[in-house]
Symmetry: C4
Subunit: 214 residues, 4 copies
């Protein structure tokens, strides 16, 4: 192993991915708990009258939005760790802080679902997305710095287009935050743009495809 790597014994890539997948799976699942609460606290009713579903429309929508956004970040983490060959203390802790902000999403998502049009909850949600996106960027930027945790011959174009794509997240979320001062209906709608931009294949994806064709 290269002297430059500073790779730590025992901190393999596999268990970092395993912890990350476990946290994503649990976070994506407990999002729904904030929707369920009103029903599970009410008594069982064997009548034919249905429960009132209107109050949960906004929390179900915030569940779906956050689930898809978490899917975006999970795919992003997935791609970043595909290129990572070694880990060191700094990378582990960048990843842990990334996970810390991922773990806050059930809170900011529940706030958005319960107070969808309040500027403050939208700003908090946006800040959470910025925090998660920035930590993913920091992880990738750190790992590719002097190529010290990735393959020495990793194409610099992949590095740069990957970094640009990750940075798009915090930029879009910042725009949504700016929009909240104008109109919170518009800014709420703008949060939906976030995952769509990432689900559409970006330039880096087309680059990968070209590489495979070659």
């Amino acid at each position: 192993m290269s002297a430059r790597t500073g790779s730590v014994a025992g901190l393999g890539k596999q268990r970092v991915e395993s912890l990350t997948d476990g946290i994503f799976a649990t976070v994506m699942t407990i999002l729904v708990l904030s929707v369920i609460v009103p029903y599970v606290t009410s008594p069982v009713d064997f009548g034919l009258t249905p429960p009132d579903l209107l109050p949960i429309v906004s929390t179900v929508l915030s569940y779906a939005l956050s689930f898809v956004i978490l899917g975006v970040f999970w795919v992003g983490h997935h791609v970043v760790f595909h290129y990572i060959r070694r880990t060191d203390w700094a990378l582990i802790w960048l990843n842990n802080v990334f996970l810390l902000f991922v773990g806050l999403l059930p809170l900011t998502s529940a706030l958005l679902g319960h107070y969808p049009l309040a500027q403050e909850t939208q700003i908090l949600y946006g800040l959470n997305l910025i925090a998660v996106g920035s930590m993913l960027y920091a992880t990738f930027a750190y790992a590719t710095l002097h190529h010290h945790l990735v393959d020495a011959d990793l194409d610099l174009r992949i590095v740069r287009s990957g970094q640009r794509r990750i940075l798009m997240g915090p930029c879009v979320a910042s725009l949504s935050i700016l929009l909240t001062s104008l109109n919170t209906d518009v800014s709420l709608a703008s949060f939906v743009v976030f995952p769509i931009l990432f689900i559409l294949p970006g330039r880096i994806d087309l680059f990968w495809q070209r590489q495979e064709l070659a």
Copy 2:
């Protein structure tokens, strides 16, 4: 790797399965939370009088029903990904939407447990099953389209019988939904047929067994 595959670097099959298993495990486990709530909010009682268990009979049954149905879908996902050799963006996102609907089951299951005879909750539960089943079908259909994500020599009879077996799910759930307009006691009972049909070995399973005998 074939130029047609469009397989994405870094999006290995293993981490997709790992996220899926994690979400299934968490969803299957938090189903029980909606049953527990009435007891954990009551104070501790050192007397000999037992708690009233009658109110949770229907939520325990809806827990068991949903747990077994999730087991059916997990086995289905398992078999589908057995044949998948490569992943691409579209497959990942078909799987993520599949998981989004899986993650809604604790909500629709809690509604069914708390309002078991209301037509609306039964329809929502049925629609959830249709959504999960359809996404599994879409995932398999997409992966086997021109065999682009499966082995080139995968027997077409396996593809077709697999697709038919997955489609059985949305069909049975649709029938249950239709029955709700007649009598919600009958339609409630019909939901139990759903997992039974899948736990009984189907034609595709017999086909596999024949192949092994050969």
Copy 3:
């Protein structure tokens, strides 16, 4: 592969273990939720007066008891699947029903913690342990029947001593249930015997050690 196996394509042992580990991890973790609830629903208090901790003594103890018992079953599952070489539909579904009863433990454990001396809650807890233990026994007995899912040369003494050791669980839990009709203080204490019997190395463990010495 032997024609007798009926092993199902795609249902590898690894993902069954992965789902099982995920469900055990989540169940062992959400046990604590029923202890936390009284505090998280009360407002934050910046005073120096501590919260009343007496009411949670019994729920903390039931958490510890159930956590250790789940550890026992997890180790048992671990050992059983060590010997299993192949899976088939029946094995998967025996395992799924095993997991269904594992998933009920947070409920019966919360009941025991909140009504520790009521005969009914103790019986339910005991029945849950019997159900989990019996399903583990059924899984092992099915897998070793004619050795069809284990190695053909697996020592019959391992099979028999393993089965006897698993059966010890339901027997001990049955005794605890019988004791509830005499005195629920005594029967409550008897549940603590359950994990202790399994944590002490049994005859099968000594057998393994002898084999290694040879």
Copy 4:
């Protein structure tokens, strides 16, 4: 395999790590539930008035503190199991008791968040950290005793510096507990020192790096 090992068939290192990662992932995620509760129980509000966020400042901070501390213990477990080659009953159960105390952190963390300045909650939090740290120490000390579960040629300096580093945790937590009798503002702040000491690379990490340079 050495006769001295007493290694148990079927209790591979991999599933122990898998259960541990799953429990850490779930514990780190459900920490946030105690912050969310006040919002999910309130009805949805489509007005522009934001929810009151002041009451959750201390619970969010206790979430962040506990998340980072769990990260520290996870990294510690990771490094310990890097050196472990075999498992036996005692190691499994030392690890299970370690996990039992890890699973209590959502409780003591919620108490700290809701009663941040009460001496009792701080002492409980500190005792929980001591319990987790001591079990990790016991696991490592047991595994390295006569080198019976690690490589026979594992450098004794690694063993000793690793043990010293793990023991630092219980020592720092004990100091925080002592400080609670003086001033709970000061002792609360001292808990933040705990993770910082571990995130800074220790002598053992520098040792690893030197080894790699050689």
